[in-house]
Structure formats: C-alpha cells, structure tokens
C-alpha cells in the first residue's frame, strides 16, 4: 500500500508540474497580448522530443541527466510522502550538481557557460533553502514534513521573513527572470540555449520532466508553511501555492535578466536579512 502511494506520487507529480507549466505559458502569452499555446503544449513538446533522435556528444553527459532526474524524483517522493525535509533538500542539491556536471561533460563552450551560471545560481539560492529547513525545525521541532503540516499553528506565523526569502529564491529554482541565468524558457535572451545546448531528443525531454518535478518541489516548500492540522488550511495552502506561482509568472514577464553579481548579491542579502533576522527574533520567543 505504502509503495503504491509512493509510485502514485512519482507518477502524478510530473503531470501536475506539466499542467502548471502549460498554464504558465498561457498566462505569459496573455500578458504579452498573445493567445498562447494549448494547455497540454508542454506534454506535446516532451512526447515529440521522445520521438526525435538523441545526438550523443559523449556517453557521460547523457548519463548525468538521468541521475539528476532520479535524485529529483527521490526528493519529490520524500517531500510529498511526509518524509525528512533535510534529506529531501540534500537530495535535491545532489540532483542539481549532477545536472551541472552533465553540462560540463559535453565540453561545449555554451554548455560550460551555462554550467558556471547554474553553479552561481546554486550558490545564490542554497543558503536560503537550508535556512528554510532550519527555520521549520525551529518552529515545529521536527524535520519531518508530516509533523510540520500537523502542527496547531501554521509555520508562517513564526517564519514570515523566511517565507519571503524562500519566495525570493524560488525565482532561481523555477528558472524565471530576473534570475534565469543558466537556462531560460525564452530563447531570445539566451546564449544559444544555456546549459541545455548540447542535449537533444530524449535527453532534453528528461530535462523538461525534471523541471516539472522541480516546480512541484518548489511549491511543496511553500505548502508546508501554511498547512496545519485543520483540514481547511490545506485548501488555503494550495491556493497560496497557486498565488505564489502566479506572482512568479508576473515577475518573469515584468523583469529583464540581471547580471550574475546582482543575482548573487541580492539573494544573499535577502537570505542574510530576512532569514537570519527572522530566526534570531524567533529564538527570543521560543
């Protein structure tokens, strides 16, 4: 029974992530005064990529993408089945690192630039993700998601600053402007195609599916801030997740890409001020 639930999570998460991406593309198009693609367009794209030839630069750069997917799926399953949030975050980081290694493995100059930028992004957002876990533990005395979402008061009451910091760095994680340095959804503002330049066919499809999982992981982190023992709070948490996603889409369409210095600096300043100060204040009351 338990295994069935885990498999169910692993199967349904990319479907939800793909649908969200489809909604994202429609809303983006409407914001630009266009009609936009059909809702199922991301699925058409991935199915098409699966039917195409996969050009192999060398065997390693494909291998890393599949390993990355495995770790991201692992993270999703842990988070959504109520597991240890710290373990989930470390597995997610490992997934990102394998993705970067894949970029470096192809030896293409465009991929290398993309990989370096991806590393910078990891550097920028990772401290805040860790502080989120620390904050949640501080507030609810448990690293387990199932304990955090079963608390009496929602974590957002204790951690408004950490929540703001998390929203800030989710822009990196969702690959949205102004922080979409390594690979963007919009081809025209890209050095060829960033870290995915050398991937084609099935490998590119895997990268896309990995991104769907990451969307779900990002929103799951938002979710745990609002869910409590009360059943209604879960509905409220889902609404907040959708609002956060909408906010990210609007920021994506309203902002141009920043330089890496600015991305790194702003992320660390927000982490330092919002995250750390929040935890210090919390330590006086706890």
């Amino acid at each position: 029974m338990n295994i069935l639930i885990l498999i169910g999570i692993a199967m349904l998460a990319p479907v939800a992530g793909g649908l969200l991406t489809g909604i994202d593309r429609i809303i983006s198009a409407r914001l630009q005064g266009r009609q936009g693609p059909p809702l199922l367009q991301p699925f058409y794209d991935v199915l098409k990529l699966c039917q195409k030839e996969s050009i192999e630069v060398n065997s390693m750069h494909r291998f890393f993408v599949y390993i990355s997917l495995a770790f991201v799926v692992f993270t999703t399953v842990i988070l959504l089945s109520g597991g240890d949030i710290l373990l989930a975050i470390f597995a997610l980081t490992l997934g990102s690192v394998f993705f970067v290694l894949g970029g470096y493995a192809s030896n293409s100059p465009y991929n290398t630039i993309g990989s370096e930028r991806e590393l910078l992004q990891i550097m920028a957002y990772e401290p805040m993700v860790l502080l989120t876990c620390v904050g949640l533990y501080y507030a609810e005395n448990s690293f387990f998601v199932k304990d955090i979402v079963a608390a009496q008061t929602p974590s957002i009451v204790y951690l408004p600053g950490v929540f703001f910091g998390l929203i800030f760095i989710l822009t990196f994680k969702l690959r949205k402007s102004p922080f979409d340095l390594s690979m963007s959804h919009h081809g025209h503002q890209e050095i060829v195609k960033g870290i995915t330049t050398e991937y084609s066919g099935k490998d590119l499809a895997v990268i896309e599916v990995t991104h769907w999982y990451e969307v779900i992981i990002a929103l799951a982190l938002v979710y745990v801030f609002f869910a409590t023992a009360a059943p209604m709070s879960h509905v409220f948490a889902v609404i907040v997740c959708l609002l956060v996603y909408l906010l990210e889409i609007i920021i994506d369409n309203g902002a141009a890409r920043v330089k890496w210095q600015q991305a790194l600096k702003s992320a660390w300043i927000v982490t330092g001020i919002m995250g750390t100060v929040n935890l210090i204040i919390l330590s006086f009351f706890k």
Partner: protein, 140 residues
C-alpha cells in the same frame, strides 16, 4: 501519434538576406500572428530544432555554415526556404559571389517565394513542412 506536428521548433538562419524576410519571420512571433498558438517556438539552437527556416541566398562563405546547421539538427527534420532569394537566388542569382538558392547546398522541403515573403505564407510553408516532418518520422 502525430505529436511532431503539434510542437515544431524552428531554427532561423539568415543567409544573404536583405533582412526583409527575417523581419517577416520575426513578425510571425508577434501578437498579431502568434505562431506559439501552434506550439511553434523559435529556438536559437540546431540541436533543439525540427524545422530550419533559411532566408536569403547561399554564397561561397556560408555554404559550410548552412551544411553544419543542417547536420547538427536531429532527425526527423525539414527545411523551409523563405523568400525568393532562398528559393532561387532571386535578383542576386547572377552575382559573382552567390551560389543560388538553398536547394543547391542542402535538400529543401518547402519553398516559400515572395519578396518579402508575407507572414501568412511563411506560416503556411511551415504548416506544409509539418506534413513532411510527419512522413519522415514514419520512415525512420
């Protein structure tokens, strides 16, 4: 499954074009024509592309570039020559440096004549290329 027809990603290369056709190709992406309705994305990367759009004629200098772009695209792939220059060389056909249409260098599937080709006819050409793409996929 005809998913290939629902998500054609395009690579646009400017041969010796006067930019007239290039602007019309880009006009397809604007809110007025919005080709993303059909799932068409303008990628800057041959390895992600399904359809190669070439504007302008081919000259001695860009023969290797056109060939390389074509070879880097994963199968199945289609080529659309946009504008009269890409079709036959147009008024530049007699120039000492111009080789002729794109068809002299790589196999072209659809010719879209016009000077400059209108966005409607470019979209029409791409839609024709989709059927060819689907046939090629079945043959693989």
């Amino acid at each position: 499954m005809s998913v290939v027809k629902k998500s054609p990603w395009i690579l646009h290369y400017d041969g010796t074009s006067c930019n007239g056709c290039d602007i019309e190709v880009l006009a397809c992406l604007t809110p007025l024509y919005d080709v993303e309705r059909f799932g068409i994305i303008n990628t800057g990367n041959p390895k992600h592309a399904d359809i190669l759009l070439i504007t302008g004629s081919v000259n001695e200098q860009n023969i290797p570039v056109v060939k390389q772009l074509y070879e880097q695209m994963p199968d199945p792939k289609a080529v659309v020559a946009v504008g009269i220059c890409a079709t036959s060389g147009g008024i530049f056909a007699e120039c000492y440096n111009v080789v002729g249409g794109v068809g002299k260098v790589i196999p072209v599937d659809v010719y879209v004549p016009g000077c400059a080709a209108r966005p409607e006819s470019i979209i029409d050409g791409v839609v024709k290329a989709l059927d060819i793409l689907e046939e090629k996929r079945k043959k693989r």
